[in-house]
């Protein structure tokens, strides 16, 4: 029972009973995701009824914008959490890479600047990965330390000031839209699809899920655990940097505290989406819906005129509630498995 819950139903099932349990697991998973989708739609309809402005094209694209910043970072975070890891240095990586873009943009092309940002994100991710893998520091503590390291670097780099982005081409490229879909949201969907493939259809993803559910077993089975861990951190750093690239475009500037406290929203989106914190299970569709859910929630609170301070309270409460419900569900599964 626990096994079929923690590892995704393996494709090479042969027996009739196994096939049925696999199918029912898929159904159950779909049902639990649709449950989130239903919550999202209900929320949207309710807010739309109370404030018709909610469905205005400007507002919808605004929501998609907000969702894509969190979502881009959440793609990497899903991968890490599925491997039982975590990265709290989101705010630092975003700040450093965005400042890098803003600094080099006057003298190079947009493509080079973006590439540089992603590269810097990957290097910072590599640093996190090495700390966690080879110095064996617990991921959330190591990345809490590097969060402040990166923030310090960002503040020192800018001397605490704001670096403006004057290139209108850059702003147009990062905040434009194709039809009614904003560019960042399209990039977010592509990245989510890519991460899904990475997690579910590659050896790397399999290794990740294997050590996410049982690191010792994965090591004993001869899987390249250390390498996969570092790779996951590098990929995640690149994802964060990508979020920073679009955020800088949206703000037309970059500064040290542009993404302060962002890690909270990112983890919340991933966990509410249904990726288990204890590792071994990750769902990108859930992450996409989770990111949208929080964007809609924030937007609804703004439209309803609730003080922005409540958003702190609500995000934290929703995250704790989601994890508590998840813990409850997991423990009943264990009890049933034992019986």
């Amino acid at each position: 029972m626990t096994v079929s819950n923690t590892t995704q139903a393996p494709p090479q099932q042969s027996g009739e009973a196994q096939k049925r349990s696999g199918a029912s697991a898929v159904l159950r998973r779909l049902a639990s995701q649709q449950y989130l989708l239903v919550v999202l739609l209900l929320l949207a309809v309710a807010v739309g009824a109370a404030r018709p402005a909610f469905w205005g094209t400007g507002n919808v694209s605004n929501i998609l914008f907000q969702a894509s910043f969190v979502g881009l970072a959440a793609c990497g975070m899903t991968l890490l959490i599925a491997g039982g890891l975590l990265d709290l240095s989101v705010g630092g990586v975003i700040a450093v890479s965005a400042i890098a873009v803003a600094t080099v943009l006057p003298s190079t092309t947009i493509g080079v600047a973006v590439l540089l940002a992603v590269l810097i994100g990957a290097v910072l991710g590599l640093l996190n990965g090495l700390l966690v893998t080879y110095l064996r520091i617990a991921p959330f503590i190591a990345t809490l330390g590097t969060l402040y390291l990166f923030l310090g670097v960002a503040f020192i780099w800018t001397s605490g000031g704001v670096v403006p982005i004057t290139s209108s081409n850059y702003r147009a490229a990062t905040t434009g839209s194709l039809g009614w879909l904003p560019v960042p949201f399209l990039v977010f969907l592509c990245l989510a699809a890519l991460t899904h493939l990475l997690l579910r259809h590659t050896y790397f993803g399999r290794t990740l899920r294997a050590f996410g559910s049982n690191e010792r077993a994965a090591t004993l089975a001869g899987l390249p655990v250390a390498r996969a861990k570092v790779t996951a951190f590098v990929f995640t750093g690149a994802c964060f940097a990508l979020a920073g690239v679009f955020m800088a475009g949206r703000l037309s500037s970059a500064e040290g505290n542009m993404a302060m406290g962002f890690e909270m929203s990112v983890i919340a989106a991933v966990v509410v989406g249904g990726t288990a914190l204890r590792g071994g299970r990750g769902t990108l569709l859930g992450t996409v819906i989770g990111a949208l859910l929080f964007a809609v929630l924030t937007n609804a609170l703004n439209l309803l005129g609730v003080a922005s301070y409540w958003q702190y309270v609500l995000t934290g409460a929703v995250l704790a509630a989601a994890v508590a419900v998840g813990a409850r569900r997991a423990s009943t599964a264990e009890v049933r498995g034992a019986g």
Binding site: L135, A142, S159, V271, Y309, G316
Partner: protein
């Protein structure tokens, strides 16, 4: 037959003696590493400070350092207990800010005594929220306290409306700066609370239970310890100590706002781990936490006196934390090697 039994017994006895010897050596080595981990940086920073930093040993700077170290250490004692049960409390910064703001408002409305008492009670209540989340709702400690970090910070902002609160009572404001025999009151409070924590952890049943739960929660459950209760108490203690720190901070600053003690959790975790309390649980080291609090306070005030931009303090703190955790990891690896007999 009997000979075989005897030889088996001697073999077992020898094996026991050998592993006891190994464990003893591992323990002494571990002690050496963990004491060196905090004492060497402490002495180093002290000497550098005395030699290279102007006005480092001036009376006002020493008082300032002792007040800061006292407040930091008080939060650290609570965190030491939580980390010793394999938990973590990331919400201490927000909890301190919330209690400081509530204390400030209450001092203005109902006097210093009521304000101080209410501050500690509010801190304990916030700790209780964390404890319930962790022990009854089974939310992992760092996620539970990461969410309450945001929630408490939101509550501070709601409570203050984003505006600073000035404290009118001068008797309350003089509490943190008053001295007894030349030693500031917060520092004396920290020594007192630290002594209480040492007593509770070394001499009381509660301390043994904390070590048992931190060492192995499963065995603690099997030996009839109420792990839920110990976890709840640990987070409660952490909240209450954050509350005491909040009261002292409000008194020290004289005016509080919603953004005070942001990032305090990192400093506190750094001093606890640097002091030798292992992230793996089961080994609280209150004295180490205390020394590390002095160390961090010296570093901060030294950097301030040298006119180093405050951004560099972030970097220093991050580097210090990574250093402390590396020592912690090396220490555990050393113990493992000793117990496994030097293989690999």
């Amino acid at each position: 037959m009997s000979e075989a039994t005897v030889s088996t017994q001697t073999l077992v006895a020898e094996e026991r003696a050998r592993s006891a010897e190994l464990a003893r050596r591992a323990d002494s080595r571990r002690r050496l590493v963990q004491n060196a981990g905090v004492l060497i940086p402490f002495l180093l920073v002290l000497v550098i400070g005395l030699v290279a930093v102007p006005h480092f040993a001036s009376a006002s700077n020493v008082t300032n350092m002792l007040v800061n170290a006292g407040i930091l250490a008080i939060v650290g004692f609570g965190m030491t207990v939580v980390i010793a049960i394999r938990g973590i409390d990331l919400s201490v910064g927000s909890a301190t800010a919330l209690t400081a703001c509530i204390t400030a408002a209450t001092v203005n409305a109902a006097g210093p005594l009521a304000g101080s008492l209410l501050g500690v009670v509010v801190g304990a209540a916030l700790g209780l929220v964390n404890g319930v989340l962790v022990s009854f709702l089974r939310v992992p400690g760092f996620i539970a306290t990461l969410s309450t970090l945001t929630v408490f910070r939101g509550l501070v902002l709601l409570f203050t409306g984003g505006a600073p609160i000035m404290i009118a009572s001068s008797s309350f404001k003089s509490m943190a700066t008053a001295t007894m025999l030349g030693v500031p009151v917060p520092f004396i409070a920290a020594v007192g609370i630290g002594a209480g924590a040492v007593f509770a952890l070394e001499r009381m049943r509660f301390g043994k239970h904390v070590v048992a739960v931190g060492g192995s929660p499963e065995s603690a459950v099997d030996s009839g310890i109420s792990v839920t209760r110990i976890r709840l108490l640990a987070y409660l203690i952490s909240g209450a100590s954050a509350g005491i720190a909040g009261v002292l901070l409000a008194s020290q600053l004289g005016a509080v706002n919603a953004s005070i003690s942001r990032g305090l959790e990192l400093q506190v975790i750094a001093i606890v781990v640097l002091g030798g309390t292992s992230m793996a649980g089961g080994r609280p080291r209150v004295v180490g936490t205390f020394i590390a609090a002095l160390l961090l306070s010296m570093i901060n005030s030294g950097l301030n006196l040298l006119n180093v931009p405050s951004f560099y303090q972030y970097v220093a703190l991050g580097a210090l934390l990574v250093f402390a955790l590396t020592i912690d990891g090396a220490q555990r690896a050393a113990v493992r090697r000793m117990l496994e007999g030097r293989r690999s």
